[in-house]
C-alpha cells in the first residue's frame, strides 16, 4: 500500500497533473464568487458556504483524474496481477486523495482569507483544521469509491459530479455549519458539537462501506 501511495505522489510531483489545477480552480472560483455575489468580503454562513462548495468542486476535479492513469496505462491489470489485497488499492487511492485535499487547503485557506474572508481565520484555526481533516476524510472515501465506479463508464466526466455532489451534501452541510461560527465578523464562536459528530459518523459509515464494496469494482 505504501508503494502505491508513493507511486501516485511521485507521479503527481513529476507531472503536476492534478494539484495545480485544483488550486488554480479554487482561486478562480473565489474570484468568480466575488463577482457573482458582488461582495468585497464575506463572513459567517456565507463565507463557510462559498469555501466548502469550492472545496467540493475542486475535489471533483481530483476524483475525475484519480483512476485515469490506471485505466489508460493498464495499471489495473498490473495491480490485479500483484499478490496483494485488493482493498489496499482503495486505501492507497483514498490516502492520496486525502493528501491532495490537505495540500489544496494549505493553499486555498490562505487564499480565501486574503481574497474574500472578512475576519482573520487565526483565532479559530485549530477547530478549522479539525473540521477540514474530518471533511477531507469523508470526501476522500466517497470520492475514491465514485472515482473507481465512474472510471469504467463511458461518460466518466458526467457521472462523477452527478454522483459525488448529492453524496457529499451531508459533508457540506456539516462542514459549512461547523465552520460558520469560526468566521463570524464579531470573532470566532464555539463550534457546535453535532457537526464534527455528523462528519465523523459520515467518515465511519462511508469509509467502512467503501472499504467493503471496493473489491467488486475491480475486475478482469
Amino acid at each position: 500500500m505504501a508503494a502505491l501511495v508513493r507511486k501516485d505522489l511521485r507521479a503527481e510531483l513529476r507531472t503536476g497533473d492534478t494539484l495545480p489545477a485544483m488550486a488554480l480552480f479554487s482561486i478562480s472560483t473565489f474570484v468568480l464568487f466575488h463577482f457573482g455575489l458582488d461582495a468585497r468580503s464575506l463572513e459567517g454562513d456565507l463565507a463557510a458556504g462559498v469555501f466548502w462548495v469550492t472545496m467540493l468542486f475542486a475535489a471533483v476535479l481530483a476524483v475525475n483524474r484519480q483512476f485515469v492513469a490506471e485505466r489508460e496505462e493498464g495499471g489495473f491489470d498490473g495491480f490485479l496481477l500483484a499478490p496483494v489485497d485488493r482493498t489496499s488499492l482503495f486505501l492507497a487511492k483514498a490516502a492520496v486523495l486525502f493528501v491532495f485535499l490537505v495540500a489544496l487547503q494549505v493553499v486555498a485557506v490562505p487564499a480565501f482569507a486574503i481574497l474574500l474572508l472578512e475576519p482573520s481565520p487565526g483565532p479559530g484555526l485549530p477547530e478549522l483544521i479539525g473540521l477540514l481533516l474530518l471533511a477531507d476524510a469523508g470526501i476522500a472515501a466517497v470520492g475514491t469509491l465514485v472515482g473507481a465506479l465512474a472510471v469504467q463508464t463511458r461518460a466518466r466526466e458526467v457521472i462523477v459530479p452527478l454522483l459525488v455532489l448529492p453524496l457529499m451534501i451531508p459533508v457540506v452541510i456539516a462542514a459549512a455549519r461547523g465552520t460558520a461560527p469560526l468566521w463570524l465578523e464579531a470573532g470566532a464562536a464555539a463550534v457546535e458539537g453535532r457537526w464534527p459528530l455528523i462528519l465523523g459518523l459520515y467518515d465511519l459509515v462511508f469509509g467502512l462501506l467503501a472499504y467493503a464494496v471496493f473489491d467488486y469494482l475491480l475486475d478482469e
Binding site: 469509491l145 469504467q152 454522483l163 455532489l165 456539516a174 462501506l209 464494496v213
Partner: protein, 245 residues
C-alpha cells in the same frame, strides 16, 4: 427457465392492493375528520406521506438486494434491485409533486428550504436519478450489474445518514408523522393513515412483481426467438439500462 416465479400470486395481490388503496382513500374522504388548521387540503397527507415512506424503503430494499447480488452473484437479485429502485423513483416523483402542492397550500410557497424532510428527500431523489444513467453508461452487462449493486448499497446507506444531517441542519416545520409521540394524530386519522400506508406498500410490491414478470417474459421471448432464428442471425441485444438475464 425460472418460469412463473415472479408471477405467482400476482392476481390476488393486485386485487388486495387495489381494495386496500381504494378503501384507504374512501376512508380519507368519508371517515377521517378534516384537520382543524388546514382543512380539506391536509388530506393530501394520506397520499404524500405513504408515497414518500414507501419510496425510501424501496431505495433501501434496492440496496439490500444489491448486497445479496454481490454475495451470491445471482442475476435475479440484480433485477430485483433494479426494479425496486425503478419503482421507488416513480413513487418519489409523486411524493415530490404532492409535497410541493401541499407546501403551496399550507405554507404558501411551492418549495420551502427550511423543511428538512422535503429537502433531504430531494437530495435522495437527485442521487437515485443517476442510477439509470450510470447503468446505461456501462456496456458490459456483468460489470453493469456489479457496479449498479455497489451504487445501490451506497445509496441505501446514504438515505438514513442524509436524513440525519439535513434534519440536524434545519428547523422543524414538518410534522413528525411517525415520531415516538405518534405525531399527536387523533385515532381515526391514524387508522386511515395506516390503511393508506399499507395500501401503498402493497401497491409497491404489486408493481414490483408486475415489472419483474414483464421483464422475465421479455427474456423468455427473446430466448425463444433466438432459438427459432438459430445461432447464425440472431439480433444482438440493444444496449440498455435494465438488467439482462
Amino acid at each position: 427457465m425460472t418460469q412463473a416465479k415472479f408471477s405467482r400470486g400476482l392476481v390476488p395481490l393486485s386485487i388486495v392492493s387495489v381494495v386496500l388503496l381504494v378503501g384507504g382513500f374512501a376512508m380519507v374522504f368519508f371517515y377521517a375528520p378534516n384537520e382543524a388548521d388546514q382543512g380539506f387540503v391536509q388530506k393530501i397527507f394520506y397520499l404524500h406521506v405513504p408515497l414518500a415512506i414507501v419510496a425510501l424503503f424501496g431505495f433501501v430494499a434496492g440496496g439490500v438486494y444489491g448486497i445479496r447480488f454481490l454475495r451470491s452473484g445471482d442475476r435475479t437479485y440484480d433485477l430485483r434491485s433494479y426494479v425496486a429502485i425503478h419503482i421507488s423513483l416513480i413513487l418519489a416523483v409523486g411524493a415530490l409533486i404532492t409535497g410541493s402542492i401541499w407546501a403551496k397550500a399550507s405554507w404558501g410557497s411551492w418549495w420551502v428550504w427550511d423543511e428538512p424532510t422535503l429537502v433531504s428527500f430531494l437530495i435522495v431523489f437527485l442521487l437515485y436519478a443517476c442510477y439509470q444513467p450510470l447503468r446505461f453508461s456501462i456496456e458490459d452487462p456483468e460489470r453493469q450489474a456489479r457496479y449498479a449493486a455497489v451504487f445501490a448499497i451506497v445509496g441505501g446507506a446514504f438515505v438514513p445518514l442524509n436524513f440525519m444531517a439535513v434534519r440536524a441542519a434545519e428547523s422543524l416545520v414538518h410534522p413528525r408523522v411517525l415520531s415516538t409521540t405518534g405525531g399527536a394524530m387523533p385515532g381515526s386519522m391514524r387508522v386511515t393513515f395506516l390503511v393508506c400506508l399499507a395500501g401503498m406498500a402493497l401497491l409497491f410490491v404489486t408493481l414490483n412483481k408486475y415489472e419483474l414478470t414483464s421483464k422475465q417474459a421479455t427474456f423468455a421471448l427473446r430466448a425463444l426467438k433466438r432459438r427459432l432464428a438459430g445461432d447464425d442471425d440472431w439480433v444482438p441485444i440493444r444496449r440498455s439500462a435494465a438488467p439482462q438475464l
